[in-house]
Symmetry: C2
Subunit: 385 residues, 2 copies
C-alpha cells in the first residue's frame, strides 16, 4: 500500500480527515484505567449528540453487520415476528439475520430502487399481530435509496407496541436522524461511513423499552448488550476495545460537533444534489427512483456497452479515485459513489471530471464538461463555491 | 489522553513498536480492491508462519473473546460435549461460551494456579465417549499459568477423534506453539498481546478436520467461518475489516519474521525469568505453581496489608507504568504483569525498580535494589545485558 492517498468515493470506508488519522497514533493505554474512562465517557456523550438521543449508545469492536446482528440477537426469542421491508442487499441481510436467530421475518417485498411506505408497515402489523419489532434499513447502500418515512413508522410502531429498529449504517451523521424524536428503540451504525472514522467500530442505541425486552431474551457473549450496559456504567467495554479506532472516533465526533448537525446534513445534501445534477447532465441513468434518492450513496446504471469494472479500474489507476460496483443481483450492472463524512464540493467536481474523461475514453458519447458544469451550478446556487 | 507514552506491562494490550504505530496512518483504501488484497495475502501468509501451520488462518475484527465465540459457535451442534479444564477466568469464559451455544461443557476442575494433565483429559474422553472437542486455554491470563502438555493432548485428541481447540490469546507469538506439529484443529489468538499490535483483531486457524465439522453445524452471521473462508480465497474478508489495524498487523508480523520465532520466544522467556527472579528476591509471593509458570503473564499475590489498587495507582502516577490487578475471585488479591510483544531487559529493570520504590513507599520491608539485582544476574547469565 503506497502512501499516496486516494480520493475515496466509496459507500464506505470513506475519507478520514488528517486530524482523525493522527489521533490513532496516541499511545496505548489501559482500557481499564482512568484515561480511557475519561475519553470513553466523552465519546459516548458525543455519540448521543449525533444520534440525538438520551438512550444508551453501545460501542462494539466489529463491522456494521456485527452491530445489526447484535441488535437482532439481543431482542429475539425463538419464533417471534420481525417485520422487514427488503429493497436491497443490506435489508436482505437483516432478514437473514432474523432467520439465523430463529425469528420469523415478515418480509415486505419492495421494488429495488424504491422504499417502503408507512401504509405497508401498518398493514403488516395489523395482519400479523404480536410483532416483536419493525426493522428498517434507513439507507439501502446497495441501491442508493433512503426510506424517508421513519417518523411515521415510529408513530405506527408505538401504536402497535412493536420495537422500532433502524439500520442506519451508511447514513447516520450524513442525514437527519433524531433517534428520540422518531421513537427509534434501537439504531445501528458503523464508524467508517458518514462518521468519517476508519472501519472497525459499530454502535447500537438502546431505548428503555428495548432494554426491557433484552432482559428477557437469551444472552450470548461477544454481542451481549446487558454486559455492555454494565461496563458502560463505568465508562468501559466488556472486552478489549479497538483503542486506536476509539481515539479516531473521539476526534471525528469532536469535528462533527464543531460543524453542527444541520450544516453537516446540508453539506451532504448539496454535494449529493450536485453529483446527481452532474450525472444527469451526462445523460447517465440513476438507479434509485427520484423521490427516494439518498444523499449519501448514489447508484448509476452502467451505460450500454461499458462495464463498471472498466470504469472503476480506470478511475482508480488513472485518477486515484475509488468507487464501488453493484452488489447481489446488481453485480456487474452499476457503479456506486459514497457522498459521506468529510465530502466537499472539490471532491464532487474532481470525481465528475474524472468520470467524464473515463467514460469518454471508454467510448461513451457526451459533452465533455457538462457534468462538472451542472454540479458547479448547484454549488453556486447554494453558495458553496 | 496525553501524548506521553506509558510503559505498558499489562497482560494486553501491550506496547506497540513505533513502526507498527506509524503503519496505521497509511491512507484508507478499498477493502475490495487490489492493494488491500495484496496486503491481506501477505498478512495471512505471515500469520500462518507465526501459527506454524498450513491451515487457513481467519482474521476477525473483534476482541479475542469474539475469536473464542467464533470457534466454539462454528463447531457446536446442540447438546454436543466439549471438554474444558477450568483453571481461571478465561477458561471459565470458554465453558460459559459452550453453554451459551447449547453445548454440554465437560468441565475438568483444576486448582487455580495449576494446569490440567494429559491423564485427566484422556480419562474424561474415555468416560464421556462421543466428545466433539477438547478445548484448552494455553495460557490462563488470570493466573499466569501455561498448560505445557498441548503436544500430548493433541495426540490424545487424535486417538479419540475429538477436535483439539486451543485458546492461545495471550501467548501466541510469545511462546512455542507449532499448530500443525501439535495437531491443533482450531487455534485462537488476539492482536493486542504477544503479537504487539493494537487491540481490535482476533485470529482463528482452522484445520481440514475442523472444516468438515463446521460445514454441518448451524451458521450465524458475523462469525460465520465458511463465509470467511469463501472471501479468504480472494484475499478479502466478508465484512469491512478494521483497516488501520490490518496495516499495523502487517508491520508487526514482518517484525516478527525479522526476529525469528525461536529468538523471540527466548527473549520472552529470559525477560520472564528475570522478572520472576526479581520478584522472588523481593520476597514476593507468586500465584502460579513453579512448574506451570507462564513466560508472558506473571501474577503476584498482594503483600499483607498492601492493596494492588495502591500499587498500580502509584506505579501509574509516579512511574507511568501500567500493571493489572486480579480477575474474578482473585480480584483485590493480586497484581499481574504482561511480558509480551516487544518486551526487553530495560523494561523489566525499569518495572522492578519502580515496584521496589512503590512497595517501599507503601511500607513493605525489603532490601531496595534486590529485585533489580536478581534480574540483572539473569540477563547477564543469558548474555542479554
Amino acid at each position: 500500500v503506497t502512501d499516496e492517498p486516494q480520493l475515496i468515493m466509496l459507500p464506505g470506508p470513506t475519507n478520514v480527515p488528517p486530524r482523525v488519522m493522527r489521533a490513532m497514533s496516541k499511545p496505548i493505554i489501559n482500557h481499564r484505567g482512568p484515561e480511557f474512562r475519561e475519553m470513553f465517557r466523552r465519546v459516548t456523550g458525543n455519540l448521543q449528540y449525533v444520534f440525538e438521543t438520551k438512550n444508551d449508545v453501545i460501542t462494539l469492536t466489529s463491522s456494521g453487520t456485527g452491530g445489526v446482528e447484535c441488535a437482532i440477537s439481543n431482542i429475539l426469542t425463538k419464533g417471534e415476528k420481525i417485520i422487514i421491508p427488503v429493497n436491497g442487499v443490506f435489508s436482505g441481510r437483516v432478514r437473514d439475520t432474523i432467520n439465523v436467530y430463529d425469528g420469523t421475518p415478515i418480509e415486505i417485498p419492495v421494488e429495488w430502487g424504491d422504499a417502503v411506505t408507512p401504509e405497508k408497515i401498518e398493514e403488516a402489523l395489523k395482519r400479523e399481530k404480536d410483532v416483536r419489532a419493525v426493522t428498517i434499513v434507513y439507507n439501502e447502500t446497495a441501491t442508493g435509496v433512503t426510506t424517508r418515512c421513519l417518523k411515521e413508522v415510529g408513530e405506527i410502531c408505538e401504536k402497535y407496541n412493536a420495537l422500532f429498529i433502524v439500520d442506519a449504517i451508511s447514513i447516520l451523521g450524513g442525514d437527519k436522524l433524531p433517534v428520540d424524536e422518531w421513537k427509534i428503540d434501537m439504531c445501528i451504525t458503523g464508524a467508517q461511513k458518514s462518521l468519517m472514522t476508519p472501519p472497525g467500530l459499530a454502535f447500537v442505541s438502546v431505548s428503555p423499552k428495548a432494554w426491557s425486552i433484552i432482559q428477557k431474551s437469551k444472552r450470548r457473549f461477544y454481542f451481549d448488550l446487558p454486559a455492555c450496559r454494565k461496563f458502560l456504567a463505568d465508562d468501559e467495554t466488556p472486552y478489549t476495545p479497538a483503542l486506536p479506532l476509539i481515539y479516531a472516533l473521539d476526534e471525528a465526533l469532536q469535528m462533527i460537533k464543531e460543524e453542527g448537525l444541520e450544516p453537516r446534513y446540508r453539506r451532504h445534501k448539496v454535494c449529493a444534489d450536485a453529483l446527481y445534477a452532474g450525472l444527469e447532465a451526462m445523460k447517465l441513468n440513476l438507479y434509485a427512483k427520484k423521490k427516494v434518492r439518498s444523499n449519501v450513496v448514489i447508484a448509476v446504471n452502467n451505460p450500454s456497452g461499458i462495464t463498471d469494472k472498466d470504469i472503476h479500474k480506470r478511475m482508480l489507476e488513472k485518477y486515484r479515485i475509488s468507487i464501488a460496483g453493484g452488489m447481489g443481483k446488481l453485480k456487474n450492472t452499476m457503479f456506486r459513489f459514497g457522498v459521506m463524512g468529510m465530502v466537499n464540493p472539490a471532491n464532487i467536481v474532481q470525481t465528475l471530471n474524472a468520470l467524464e474523461c473515463t467514460l469518454s475514453d471508454l467510448g461513451y458519447k457526451m459533452d465533455l464538461g457538462s457534468g462538472v458544469s451542472a454540479a458547479r451550478d448547484v454549488f453556486t446556487r447554494e453558495k458553496m463555491l
